[in-house]
Amino acid sequence: MKPRLPKRASLLAAFLAGTALAGPLAAQTTLDVAIIGEADTFDPMMSTKDVVSIVTQHFVETLYTFDSGWNVAPLLATDLPQISDDGLTYTIGIREGVTFHDGSSMDAKDVVASLERWLEVASRGKLVADKVASVEATGDYEVTITLTEAYSPLLSLLAFSNSAAAIYPEEIIGETIDPVIGTGPYKIAEHVPDQYLQLVRFDDYSSRSEEPDGAAGARKQTVDEIRFVPVPDPNTRVEGLLSGQFDFADGLPAESYGRLESSDVADPMLLQPFGWPVFALNHKDGLLADKTIRKALQAALPMDDMLFAAFGDDKFFLTDGPLYPEGWAWRNDAGVELFNQNDQARAAELLKEAGYDGTPLRILTSRQYEFHFKMAEVARMALEAAGFTVQMDVVDWATLGERRNDPALWDIYISHSPFLPEPSLTDMYSETSRLGWSNPEKDKILAQFTSETDPDKRKELYTQLQGQVFEDVGFIKIGAFNALSGLAEGLTGVTETPWPFFWNAEPAE
């Protein structure tokens, strides 16, 4: 409860605080959203950063998207594609009457040009590029994608807002896209770097008619304006939310949960689970190229302790072995008996068996994400107890990003990811990733998994793939963690997702 001010003090406060006191909700049709930093680009093809996805999905759209159950659903496409029996041909109907922000109409030519650019420049587009024989306009509002081999993750890739297969007008397609012109419910009005991005309602927006369901269905322009404000300091995001300056704040520290819960201005929004911290292992070079040493590493790690040190309160983590959380189609128990062994004696035996000579195990981590560092510290103690010599390479995130590209410089690097709707959206299973994880059995399962189109068979294959992750120690999932956001009291229509969006969001009266 805010303290009541005497009248004179209130007048002074009104003068000093100015618009801040009036608050965003007074305007009724503007949402102020605090995000963790500036988006590097407004072209979502060019980045895999979550903050880019969060912002750009409001003005750039894709052929498909995901509903609340993470099923692929049509967005700019009329419906799910017609897929030939051999899985090689995708015929996609394109919606008529969709207008770009520059006033031009979207048709198959725009889609073809956009998809061709996506295959050429986007990280995720490149994953499938060598399997695409052609992308052709087979009608004014129909596009056909022909593959050289069946590739079932294609639809998920086309639906993902991250390294997105965004649809632009053919005329603006180039190496870079500036200004970005999309078909989304909001368009860019003004961008002042590091200060705000102002999006305004796009009056000619053509919404789908189905009921909203996750990011699928109708996208109602319930507010006139959305302002994304980059606020790098998490505490400042909390204070801004609690003061009423922001209607939504992303990426809040766990410690602020209690204040948000007791506030009458804002409420906590706990996305559980958000994602999973992971120890990425170097299979190309160094100690962990040896499977027995990888098994020793796996045996030694105390996941409970690592997660507790990292997140401090079990409201924010779950010691959970399967690679997908409860309730997801991909969840299975293959190999999970090897998770959270916390058995340093067993690890010591395995090290002896491997003939470990005391070569330092290099853990590359960063304090950019404090929980990475805390997990690494606990892991170090357990690994040293097992007989490993551990070298902690604590660097800033930029340095980590550079060093992990050189397999000679690390044995483990620590990262995290949201739970992605399709396993193939992460490249850690692939031999060509930084990890370089490969064995004949896993490679065969992975090839079958990506080419199989039957959902039930894919689930079975994924169970085998997860078994390989544990059995061959491809990478190590530490557990699951929750993410805390906060929203203004009375704000409704905001879906819990790692990439929050604000069409359909309605501020309190």
Binding site: S123, P193, Q198, Q245, G401, R434
Partner: protein, 313 residues
């Protein structure tokens, strides 16, 4: 005088050239790849290499350096890797909040520190003197981020007297933007008042012990006139020096406070640029800061001429 200023300006250019070279070397010695950062965590090494090529970061270091120096001499500090805007434009966009934040902070620091410093010196050993010294030590010892967080929480969030953070939105006018600077200015003003207070007190103590002050008093001159006209004027040079340095520090170093209050100023920009490995912005900011230091030092020296007629260059 003109000759002195000319010589100082030549010296300034040499300093800036040295800073320019050091800035170029230092940012490239730091590990970290801007291309990998821009592309995000899932980007491959090949993607990062392609972007480095597009940004010209794959060219030999010497070629990059010569190109940088050549362009800088023509006033072109390059283009921000992150914002895709000329560095001069990026820096200019940050000038307003930083300059006004520095001015307000300095004003607050002077308003707090000068009268207290003078009075503390005048009443040396008194309770007020002891209290002033203790408070100044406290203000100097408490980190500005802590003061900032506390004031932000209690004065802005709880009492709603100030905006919590930022610098306004698209429809925010100049006066409203200035309101956003009030609380951070108070924080910086408190922190910086400590140094000015101690310098003012020490300088006044020296002067108040001089023979000519005793003479003035023996002539029956009023205490107010002795302290404010005779003592303060002669104590001003060290005070001006520290005020000048404080202003330069504020312009270049309000990093933590700008971060806590999310002010889009120079300090915030430099921190972000370092984290993003935005080389041209880091270099440009270092050049601007170095130039400011040299310029403020020059102005401070010229100000000595105004306050003390005995100073000659």
């Amino acid at each position: 005088m003109a000759r002195y200023i000319f010589k100082r300006l030549i010296g300034m250019m040499i300093v800036i050239f040295i800073v320019l070279t050091i800035a170029f070397i230092i940012v490239r010695l730091a590990p970290g790849d801007p291309a990998a950062l821009m592309l995000g965590p899932e980007a491959t090494a090949e993607d990062a290499a392609a972007l480095r090529q597009r940004l010209g970061l794959d060219r030999p270091i010497l070629v990059q350096y010569l190109s940088f120096v050549g362009n800088a001499l023509q006033g072109d500090l390059g283009e921000s890797l992150f914002f895709n805007q000329p560095v001069t434009q990026v820096l200019a966009g940050r000038a307003e909040p930083t300059i006004f934040l520095s001015l307000f902070s300095l004003l607050i620091a002077l308003v707090i520190a000068t009268p207290i410093g003078i009075y503390a010196a005048y009443r040396r050993g008194s309770l007020l003197d002891q209290a002033a010294i203790t408070t100044a030590m406290l203000a100097a010892s408490i980190p500005s981020f802590w003061t900032g967080l506390m004031l932000q929480r209690y004065l802005a969030t709880d009492l709603g007297w100030f905006p919590v953070s930022g610098y306004g939105g698209p429809d925010t006018g100049f006066l409203e933007r200035m309101r956003y600077l009030l609380l951070p200015s108070i924080v910086l003003g408190i922190v910086n008042s400590a140094l000015i207070l101690r310098f003012t007190r020490a300088s006044m103590l020296d002067i108040l012990g001089e023979d000519y002050i005793r003479t003035a008093r023996s002539k029956g001159m009023g205490e107010r006139r002795v302290v404010l006209r005779h003592a303060l004027k002669n104590a001003a040079i060290p005070i001006i020096t520290v005020v000048g340095l404080t202003f330069a520090l504020l312009v270049s170093g309000a990093v933590v406070t700008e971060r806590v209050f999310n002010i889009p100023g120079m300090g915030n920009l430099v921190v972000s640029a370092v984290l993003r490995r935005d080389y041209p912005v880091i270099q440009g900011a270092l050049i601007v800061v170095a130039s400011l230091y040299v310029l403020i030092n020059l102005l401070t020296d010229l100000l000595y001429l105004v306050v003390d007629k005995r100073v000659k260059y």
